[in-house]
């Protein structure tokens, strides 16, 4: 198990810059999730740690040692990819044995047998051992891929969107399994995904990557409740945080261009929030309430049914915002309603830079 640190990493591919000045630290035994959109540089980060790419600038440390001169074989990491990591000509057993048989760290046959059996038991793929991998379902294949990683007891597990090719139900099941597996092994995991639900539900720590830069690192709760900027606010959460332009006048949020006002309480206020400064107000949909006597009137623009709850899109003039309400709330499209927000939960961002006022200081 290992501690991973990336220091000031920049990676360029020809004229294209994939990563810029990236700093990242993963503690021993931590489940770290790197979250970002396609093309944000997640896979590149993973490949740099695995030794499949060399950084243009910066250093990679594994357990405090600069591994710049180490090849992929020497780094002793395990990589699980979205697809293509199983050899189609091999059976499941041969695939699982493969990582245990390289010349530089070949294990005795009895040990190989034992490890394969244990991994197969852990992942419940014992019945598949003699099957060719092209005759496996997607979920089985991904289990075997994970098995290929865990047979080896590597220093760190690198997972590149291992669940995104699977259907929703299986993804959910494997999510739990992976998290349990990580806790059981006490292993260091770096898990890359574009799916914020995976990040929130699995990560001890989440790093949000945008255009080759780490925007914010923190626990899932920090990321969710206290996003560093409007990018994180709109990327994390489903539905995402409502972001409304406005300014602060006498502890009240005054929105523009459609003028409506809502209170902001002391809990949400910070030093930089001076009257008249152009701001973006962020509020999570679950902190927006529909109430008879609430201060602002809106029209119901759209209703999405999600079983236990409904997501109602409200329209105030030109401004749209979403509210999560209990499923039994009766609303109809174009029905006038009144709403308020939880004044403690409002996050204020600078209009120009998009950075949260709480982080700016």
């Amino acid at each position: 198990m290992a501690h991973i640190e990336l220091k000031n990493i920049t990676k360029k591919f020809g004229g294209h810059t994939a990563l810029t000045g990236l700093n990242l630290e993963i503690a021993d035994g931590e489940f770290f999730v790197l979250l970002g959109e396609t093309g944000a540089g997640k896979t590149t980060t993973l490949r740099l740690i695995a030794g499949l790419e060399k950084p243009t600038e910066g250093q990679v440390f594994i357990d405090g040692v600069d591994v710049a001169s180490w090849g992929a074989a020497e780094r002793d990491v395990a990589l699980v990819l979205q697809q293509y990591s199983l050899y189609p000509r091999y059976t499941v057993r041969e695939n699982l044995e493969f990582p245990l048989k390289p010349k530089i760290r070949r294990l005795p046959d009895a040990e190989i047998k034992d490890r394969v059996a244990r991994a197969a038991r852990t992942l419940r793929i014992e019945h598949l051992l003699d099957r060719k991998t092209d005759r496996l379902s997607g979920g089985e294949m991904q289990r075997v891929s994970i098995g290929r990683a865990i047979v080896r007891k590597p220093r760190v597990f690198l997972m590149d969107e291992p669940l995104s090719a699977l259907d929703a139900k299986l993804r959910e099941a494997l999510r739990t399994e992976l998290k349990n597996l990580q806790m059981q092994l006490g292993a260091t995991f770096l898990f890359v995904t574009h799916d914020q639900i995976e990040a929130m539900s699995m990560g001890d720590k989440v790093g949000v990557l945008n255009h080759g830069r780490i925007v914010q690192t923190g626990s899932p709760q920090e990321i969710y409740n206290n996003p560093r900027d409007t990018y994180v606010a709109s990327f994390v959460g489903s539905p995402p945080m409502n972001l409304i332009d406005g300014k602060l006048v006498d502890d009240r949020a005054v929105m523009a261009p459609t003028s409506f006002e809502l209170p902001v309480s002391g809990g949400a206020k910070t030093g930089g929030a001076t009257d008249g400064r152009p701001l973006v107000f962020g509020i999570r949909p679950e902190d927006v309430y529909l109430e008879g006597g609430a201060p602002v009137e809106a029209k119901v623009h759209d209703v999405e049914n999600h079983g236990v709850e409904k997501i109602v899109t409200l329209r105030v003039g030109e401004t749209m915002l979403r509210a999560t309400v209990p499923a039994r709330t009766a609303v109809e499209i174009e029905q006038p309603v009144r709403f308020a927000w939880n004044p403690d939960k409002v996050v204020m961002f600078d209009k120009g830079s998009g950075v949260s006022l709480r982080h700016a200081g």
């Binding site: 030794g51 499949l52 002793d76 395990a78 293509y84 050899y87 390289p102 760290r105």
Partner: protein, 318 residues
């Protein structure tokens, strides 16, 4: 997937089958001609109209493998009786088999055939082997001027090879490579390499690089990953490329004719040289040609499944 076929589709399908059958018959006709001539008595080989039904005989093959001379007088009946069946067939044709003591003197055909095998097999192995490594390099690594280099490799095929035959002959004579197996092998490898590199590059590009990367991360060297993972995945491509290279080397005529005469001469220039003086013996030539066709036929047949993938390569995505 099999949607209900309309009647017009069935008609079209049948028409296509008939067309393919006709084309196949047209293409196979010369092969039938050679094969049947190889088993015909001498006089039927040139009969007009051609004989279709005849008593097949293997005498042309006996003539192919032996050295013979025309007999001035009739054969001694005692010697005829003592002779084995195949020698009698030669006596029947008014010839006798040349012998040193009691050993039958073989014709040059087996030597030439062996030369063909040596040159074609060695040059194919080299061309495909080098092509596979080169293609892997081009496919997996960033190489400065990659496109130019690939174009340069291809450009060796942009000229009919015969154009350089005379300079090549002079060069070969100067360095002592003419009439040697190595000389021909070098020529055929040079000739096939561009083809091999380009074809193999296509196959290599289709093998996901994630396979090797997984092996690299698992502790294997690039070389081990290549042999353990890439090569088995590329088997289809290698087989298809090998068939094409083998056929090219096997059938090559012009350079073999110019560059070799005795030691390293291959079968293609040798077979017509048997025509010699007097009436050409078409049945013996046909027998030689027929045997010459067999290795390619067998090789292609063995690799037919790979070959189908090979010729349609690029057309189908995995």
């Amino acid at each position: 997937m099999a949607a209900v076929r309309t009647s017009s589709e069935i008609v079209l399908n049948r028409a296509a089958i008939v067309a393919v059958l006709i084309a196949t018959l047209i293409f196979l006709a010369p092969i039938y001609w050679i094969a049947s001539t190889a088993f015909k008595p001498k006089d039927l080989a040139v009969s007009v109209p051609p004989t279709v039904l005849f008593q097949p005989e293997v005498t042309p093959f006996v003539r192919l493998f032996t050295k013979r001379v025309q007999m001035q007088k009739t054969v001694d009946p005692q010697a005829y009786e003592a002779a084995p069946w195949w020698e009698k067939r030669i006596y029947d044709g008014g010839e006798r088999v040349l012998k040193v003591g009691t050993d039958v003197q073989l014709s040059q055909y087996p030597d030439r055939f062996t030369n063909s095998l040596i040159v074609a097999i060695v040059s194919t192995v080299l061309a495909v082997g080098m092509g596979t490594f080169t293609a892997y390099g081009f496919s997996r690594f960033k190489i400065a001027g990659e496109a130019d280099l690939l174009f340069f490799i291809l450009s060796t095929r942009m000229l009919p090879p015969v154009v350089v035959a005379i300079p090549m002959f002079l060069m070969y004579r100067a360095v002592g490579l003419n009439d040697s197996h190595i000389g021909l092998i070098i020529l055929y490898v040079a000739f096939n390499l561009s083809f091999s590199v380009w074809l193999m590059k296509g196959f290599m590009d289709e093998i996901p690089k994630e396979y090797e990367e997984a092996a690299l991360v698992d502790g294997y060297t690039r070389m081990q990953a290549f042999f353990k993972i890439v090569l088995p995945e590329a088997a289809t491509g290698i087989a298809a490329t090998a068939v094409f290279c083998f056929i090219t080397a096997w059938n090559e005529y012009a350079f073999a004719l110019i560059m070799t005469n005795r030691r390293a001469q291959t079968a293609p220039p040798f077979i017509p040289s048997q025509i010699g003086s007097g009436l050409p013996d078409w049945t013996t030539i046909a027998a030689g040609t027929f045997l010459f066709l067999l290795p390619v036929a067998i090789f292609t047949f063995l690799l037919r499944n790979h070959l189908l993938r090979g010729v349609t390569f690029g057309a189908i995505r995995k």
